[in-house]
């Protein structure tokens, strides 16, 4: 297990280094240079030069890369050009929206997918199974931002049960905040729940055809008992992996849903920074999102290695 962990750790670090290089290079290669890009075409020469100085663009590229990286490692993400406040402060503030939203969506995903997947698998080939599978096909095909728009139309504008957007903040009370996050979380969860339902179902069907299930049935367990006591636990391994991947996806995927609902999260921050050409902010927030995704994937692989010894050896 130690060897496996070290190997995975090596790829994690490698992935982070390459990711940071790619993001850094993408910003470096903007048409013109970052300073004139940020200020636009009508900027005066001396303003551009002042910004160049402020951004440290007159230093060699390698030095800039290292000061960016060491800064990020020590929690200094630079100062936002438009907000004139440290990026780290803004990010932490926005995380209080994005993180709960992702967790909320993940909870909904699991609450929908587990019963639906188990139900479909235990009644394989029945009308129930067919309808669940049909619904998941539809769930995968629906763009979540379109679903979000329709949800706003129905639940916010017509029925007025949920707010159509915005976020009151956690100071207004837990339930008020959760109420505002409900429609976005549902919109985020829908496609993920469809994917997870299909995986839950097929994973259960795989384990249900194993010999030990036949043995359990032969011992006198009903189909339901065999499913609950033996099949479910074994079927969960691939399902848990997907859940881990989905969490990072929900965190990064909220980027569009946050825009539909005008939620002050990380996704909306990226878009605002893009439209304001605040490259320092874009660079740091994107790196942070990539970091989160890569680390979550790493943790998922570690857990997978923990539960599945074969995988450890294969690597």
């Amino acid at each position: 297990m130690l060897r496996f962990t070290l190997l995975r750790l090596r790829s994690l670090i490698l992935a982070l280094i390459v990711a940071s290089l790619v993001i850094f290079a993408m910003i470096e290669l903007v048409p013109g240079d970052p300073a004139s890009f940020m200020l636009g075409i009508n900027a005066r020469e001396d303003t551009i030069n002042a910004l160049r100085e402020e951004l440290g663009l007159n230093q060699p590229m390698i030095q800039r890369y290292f000061s960016w990286i060491t800064g990020m490692l020590t929690g200094d993400f630079g100062t936002s050009y438009t907000y004139r406040t440290p990026v780290a402060e803004i990010v932490v503030e926005r995380l209080w929206v994005s993180l709960p939203l992702a967790l909320y969506a993940l909870t909904l995903t699991i609450l929908i997918a587990f019963p639906a997947g188990i139900w479909a698998a235990s009644r394989r080939g029945s009308l129930t199974d067919l309808s669940v599978m049909g619904a998941t096909q539809l769930g995968i095909a629906v763009p979540n931002f379109w679903f979000a728009m329709l949800a706003v139309l129905i639940f916010a504008i017509t029925w007025r049960i949920f707010p159509s957007g915005g976020f009151p903040g956690w100071d207004e009370g837990f339930w008020t905040a959760m109420h505002a996050l409900t429609l976005p979380a549902v919109a985020l969860a829908l496609p993920q729940a469809s994917i997870l339902t299909r995986i839950m179902r097929s994973s259960l069907l795989d384990t249900l055809s194993e010999d030990y299930i036949r043995t359990a049935r032969a011992k006198g367990l009903t189909r339901g008992q065999a499913l609950r006591r033996h099949a479910l636990r074994n079927a969960l391994i691939p399902v848990l992996t997907i859940i881990g991947l989905q969490f990072s996806f929900l965190l990064a995927g909220a980027i569009i849903i946050e825009n539909v609902f005008f939620l002050p999260g990380l996704g909306r921050l990226v878009f605002q920074a893009i439209s304001q050409r605040d490259l320092i902010m874009v660079e740091s927030v994107v790196m942070l999102l990539v970091f989160a995704v890569i680390v979550v994937n790493f943790l998922v692989e570690l857990t997978y290695g923990l539960v599945d010894p074969q995988l450890r050896r294969a690597r």
């Binding site: 790829s11 490698l14 992935a15 390459v18 990711a19 993001i23 993408m26 910003i27 903007v30 048409p31 080939g125 096909q137 539809l138 995968i140 095909a141 629906v142 763009p143 931002f145 379109w146 728009m149 329709l150 706003v152 139309l153 504008i157 097929s202 069907l205 990072s248 996806f249 990064a252 995927g253 980027i255 569009i256 825009n259 539909v260 990226v270 878009f271 893009i274 490259l279 874009v282 994107v286 999102l289 990539v290 995704v293 890569i294 994937n297």
Partner: protein
């Protein structure tokens, strides 16, 4: 089989709409007709008109062009670069080349694709071309992985061994014997990536980073309808249905193809 037929039927409707739109659309999508704005569906305008009086039906036809073109070229990029990489990795199994290609793949996989696609289009300008590149990059590791794993099992076969004994090199064997035998798999994967590409293009256009006006695209039609959705819901409904039906069609066709090409799965999946 049922899935395949339904899926192909759905997909062909939109492909046909896209092709026909080159020759004919019921109305001109670039011409504004303010007096007839926001008309409800029915009458002369089958799907109604938008806030500028443009015919929604015609816009969906032309939008199909954008979506399908972006997704197809993005799949093409993935295949043209990814498949040779996968074949090379399989031919030189466990070599530094294999290691290098597969690690590179893992890396791209680890990137949150949407975030990077947004960053690419934001920094280099929003256009259909940049959207294609941004989506296409993330198709490369998918095809590399699929073709490598399929090719690896083929390399163990006897007929490959005899080809090697006959003196054929790795490149020739890959091109003449491996590639034709993994085409089925690549088609199935291509269909899936195609549908993901449609969704990705819609998402990018929705946030204004895909095809630019006046070229209609389904995602941007949805974005433009957002402020008017309570006034004229049909503006949001039709482009959304177009996306859903195309993606659904492609997914069903992909599933159907897989079942058809792999009889083992046909039993297991039902």
């Amino acid at each position: 089989m049922r899935n395949l037929i339904l899926g192909l039927a759905l997909t062909s409707i939109f492909v046909a709409a896209a092709l026909i739109s080159f020759l004919w659309t019921p109305f001109d999508v670039t011409k504004l007709d303010i007096p007839n704005k926001l008309q409800a569906p029915g009458g002369a305008h089958l799907f109604g008109t938008d806030q500028f009086g443009r015919d929604i039906f015609s816009m969906i036809m032309v939008g199909a062009r954008t979506s399908i073109a972006v997704a197809i070229v993005a799949v093409g990029i993935g295949m043209v670069i990814g498949v040779p990489l996968g074949l090379a990795a399989a031919a030189r199994r466990n070599s530094w080349l294999d290691e290098f290609i597969m690690r590179g793949n893992d890396l791209i996989f680890a990137f949150p694709s949407l975030v990077i696609a947004i960053m690419i289009t934001a920094v280099y300008g929003a256009s259909a071309f940049n959207a294609i590149v941004a989506i296409g990059i993330f198709n490369i590791p998918v095809f590399a992985r699929v073709s490598r794993s399929a090719a690896l099992s083929l390399w163990q076969r006897d007929y490959i061994l005899s080809a090697r004994v006959a003196g054929k090199g790795a490149v020739r064997i890959s091109a003449e014997h491996i590639l034709p035998n993994i085409t089925n798999l690549l088609i199935v994967q291509g269909t899936i990536q195609f549908s993901l590409g449609i969704l990705a293009e819609a998402a990018l256009s929705y946030v204004g980073l895909g095809a630019q006006p006046p070229l209609p695209s389904w995602g941007r039609m949805l974005a433009e309808s957002q402020t008017l959705v309570s006034l004229a819901p049909h503006l949001a409904l039709f482009p959304g249905f177009a996306i859903v039906l195309t993606v659904l069609g492609l997914n069903l066709a992909g599933d159907g193809l897989r079942d058809l090409l792999d009889p083992k799965l046909r039993v297991a999946r039902t």
